[in-house]
């Protein structure tokens, strides 16, 4: 096969379990838009896993991914060094986030979900929208992308479960305060499924449109397997081609949470459950 291996040009540990990697890929760096993802395979026996494109540099021809080490594949990926090659790297996949025309947006990132929320916040800022960001983490040790978010946000709120950084409390506590006092064109929430579910319950009360980014189990990422299917507004959707962004008020979160645990029982086998970015957070939630 003429393999399109890609070279790793930077590798940085963002916190004890989260790694940032920058790879060379000219086409994706030029083409990718906020909200899209890639699928990679670490080596010849590797499984295909989706990761959101966290940033791109069309001049240096680089693409940034951020992942949490949760299973065999992300562990293998994390062991690679600068100048090592990744076997397969496909993208950009999925529909870009629809952000055109939004004037004021509240962007919410939960845990490693911040890596997915960041490119959207950045794109909003670039198009001139007012961006209010709420980032939630379990504790101080797990904070990522704080500076990056500061730079693209008009206001930035940090929440933590234990109060070791920012304010003590959940992102929904902060959001409720904001919604009491101001209005947004849209809320964009990305994080563990439970977090997105509760954000959506809250915004429904206030009648604010809410977009969430779904990361179910995927294989091909092209609409061929149906493994990534979810129920949205009572209809079956494939997250890899119809999403990953969906109207949060329409998503069946309970079903999505169940489906993401499909392969969790197979502990003896190397595997990744659900979105590699979100699993740990969910286990905790």
């Amino acid at each position: 096969m003429e393999l399109l291996t890609v070279r790793i040009v930077e590798q940085e540990c963002l916190n004890p379990t989260v790694t940032k990697m920058v790879v060379e890929h000219e086409k994706i760096s030029i083409k990718a838009k906020a909200g899209q993802f890639i699928i990679l395979r670490v080596d010849a026996n590797g499984e295909r896993i989706p990761l959101t494109i966290a940033d791109t540099d069309p001049i240096r021809h680089t693409v940034t991914i951020i992942f949490q080490i949760v299973g065999a594949t992300t562990k293998k990926l994390n062991e690679l060094q600068v100048n090592d090659m990744i076997y397969d790297f496909v993208g950009p996949l999925g529909k870009p986030s629809e952000i055109e025309g939004l004037k004021k947006v509240c962007v919410i990132g939960g845990g490693v979900g911040c890596a997915i929320a960041y490119p959207t916040a950045k794109a909003l800022k670039i198009q001139g929208s007012e961006v209010v960001t709420i980032a939630g983490f379990r504790n101080k040790e797990l904070v990522i992308l704080e500076n990056e978010f500061q730079q693209v946000s008009d206001r930035f709120y940090m929440m933590s479960d234990d109060g070791s950084v920012g304010q003590k409390g959940l992102v929904t506590d902060c959001l409720r305060n904001l919604l009491e006092n101001e209005s947004f064109d849209e809320v964009i929430a990305i994080g563990p499924l439970v977090m997105m579910k509760f954000v959506c319950q809250l915004t429904k009360e206030y009648g604010v449109k809410t977009i969430v980014s779904m990361n179910p189990i995927m294989i091909d990422g092209t609409g061929m397997c149906g493994g990534c299917r979810l129920k949205v507004g009572g209809k079956m959707k494939f997250a890899c081609v119809d999403g990953p962004d969906f109207d949060g008020h329409e998503v069946d979160f309970d079903e999505a949470m169940a489906r993401n645990t499909q392969y969790r029982e197979f502990e003896h086998h190397a595997y990744e459950t659900c979105c590699n970015l979100l699993k740990k957070e969910e286990d905790h939630a």
């Binding site: 399109l4 994706i28 026996n45 496909v90 169940a258």
Partner: protein, 461 residues
């Protein structure tokens, strides 16, 4: 004197008790002696009825004559004139509905084993002939192919031989289309597909895997990059579901997902990182080749398997041989049965409710339409359900390319030359016909290669 045995020479098989525990090929292929003996059964009818059943008009009696005389190389050249993938088609074509259906020998016994002979010749050639794949002199024109399934690979090969610089863009990480992600190793060893792909490379065809056209780049961008024509052979990979209650329970898969994990990702292999659900009691819904492949794969992973199909034995659309092999391997068939809903426990599927059907009037396709028997509901306990009820063309290409028209089923509309409603964009295979067969896809790829050659020649006059 021809061999007048009413039965064809038997195909050696792996014993059924052994093969349901491994993934090696089930049918082992004829030996030289068997092939020559079987070739003796051909009566060399003047009007060659078998040829009318072959979608690509292989000169069947001619190649069989060469086999009879032991001239396997000559036989191979005759087949290769009209078919690009004989080792594949000899294994997976539904011969009983094609060439063998018209064989005169079938009137008083079994037809000549045309498919088996084709397979023998192709396998012999792969093992014994050094094909000189000399890179043709380039003519300076570039063509892009979308999808590395049988249609795309065939189109690429024929164009490369005509001197075109051909690039195949494939979404997955390996070339082959359904031949690598769908049809299992035990029916079509992957080394055969690899061999075909390698010979294309030797002809100078570039194969770019990991390129999803419509996302990585669009068809319009391919034209901007200097490709003068595009062939779309993107298949019909979008899995259909029935829309039943409980279809999203854990343990319910599309056949495409199950087979992709099993074949493409080699999840049966301990060294593969990709997990696959190892069910105890699996129900497969559907009666085509896809259903048989899913059922037999699940069997090899240790499940008890039941196939549920809404029509009868006669109507099963799968190749007859696959149905026979599935039965021998212990797959149970519940025919005239249709699922109505799925029940779950703790989020996992625990049973499937079905109704009994009976066959009524013939429908538009000529097959008798199944109708529900009143109050016939019953449940089958299971921990896995695989939906193999058909696939449709993937909408990605048409939704990202202006001017590409499709019929209501999402199939690309083409003219008699294989050109779509977009100038310079040709299409063939399942993307045009909906899920069909390897040989039809290959035939369409061949036809489009000719059309593209004419089209580009005219453009540059």
């Amino acid at each position: 004197m021809p061999n007048m045995n009413v039965k064809r020479c038997e195909m050696p098989l792996q014993p059924k008790e052994v093969r349901s525990h491994n993934i090696e090929e089930v049918a082992l292929g004829y030996t030289k002696e068997m092939a020559m003996e079987e070739a003796e059964r051909c009566l060399h009818c003047k009007h060659k009825p078998c040829m009318q059943g072959c979608p690509v008009s292989i000169h069947i009696p001619d190649f069989i004559e060469e086999v009879k005389n032991g001239n396997f190389k000559e036989a191979y050249h005759i087949i290769k004139k009209t078919s690009s993938l004989p080792a594949v088609c000899g294994r997976v074509c539904p011969q009983e509905n094609q060439c063998e259906k018209y064989c005169v020998r079938a009137i008083k016994g079994e037809s000549v084993g045309i498919g088996r002979l084709e397979r023998f010749v192709a396998d012999w050639a792969r093992e014994n002939l050094q094909e000189e794949n000399v890179k043709p002199v380039l003519n300076g024109h570039k063509v892009a192919i979308v999808g590395a399934g049988p249609s795309g690979l065939t189109c690429a090969g024929d164009l490369a031989k005509l001197g075109y610089e051909v690039t195949v863009f494939e979404a997955l990480h390996v070339a082959g289309g359904v031949l690598v992600y769908g049809i299992p190793e035990f029916r079509l060893p992957k080394k055969i597909v690899e061999h075909e792909v390698d010979s294309l490379r030797q002809l100078g065809v570039h194969i770019e895997c990991d390129s999803v056209i419509g996302r990585s780049e669009t068809i319009d961008e391919l034209f901007e990059e200097g490709f003068e024509a595009v062939f779309v052979g993107s298949g019909a990979g979008l899995p259909n579901f029935m829309g039943l209650e409980g279809e999203n329970l854990k343990g319910v898969f599309s056949a495409n997902e199950y087979l992709t994990r099993f074949n493409l990702m080699k999840a049966y292999d301990e060294n593969s990182d990709t997990p696959i659900y190892r069910a105890k009691k699996c129900v497969v819904v559907g009666g085509g080749n896809v259903a048989m492949d899913a059922a037999r794969s699940a069997r090899r992973l240790g499940a008890e398997v039941t196939i549920v199909y809404r029509r009868g034995m006669e109507e099963l659309p799968a190749r007859r041989e696959e149905v026979e092999h599935a039965m021998e391997e212990g797959v149970e068939f519940k025919l005239l049965t249709n699922p109505t809903r799925l029940f779950g426990h703790d989020g996992w599927v625990s049973s499937i409710e079905c109704v009994e059907m009976e066959l009524g009037e013939a429908d538009a396709s000529g097959r008798r339409r199944p109708v529900v028997k009143e109050n016939s509901e019953f449940e089958i306990t299971c921990d896995c359900v695989i939906m193999a009820i058909g696939t449709s063309p993937n909408p990605l290409i048409r939704s990202t390319t202006k001017g590409l028209e499709t019929n209501p089923k999402g199939c690309l509309i083409v003219d008699e030359k294989g050109m779509t409603t977009r100038k310079g964009v040709f299409a063939g295979g399942d993307a045009v016909s909906g899920a069909a067969t390897v040989i039809q896809a290959m035939g369409a790829g061949k036809k489009c290669a000719q059309s593209i050659h004419e089209y580009i020649s005219n453009l540059n006059q």
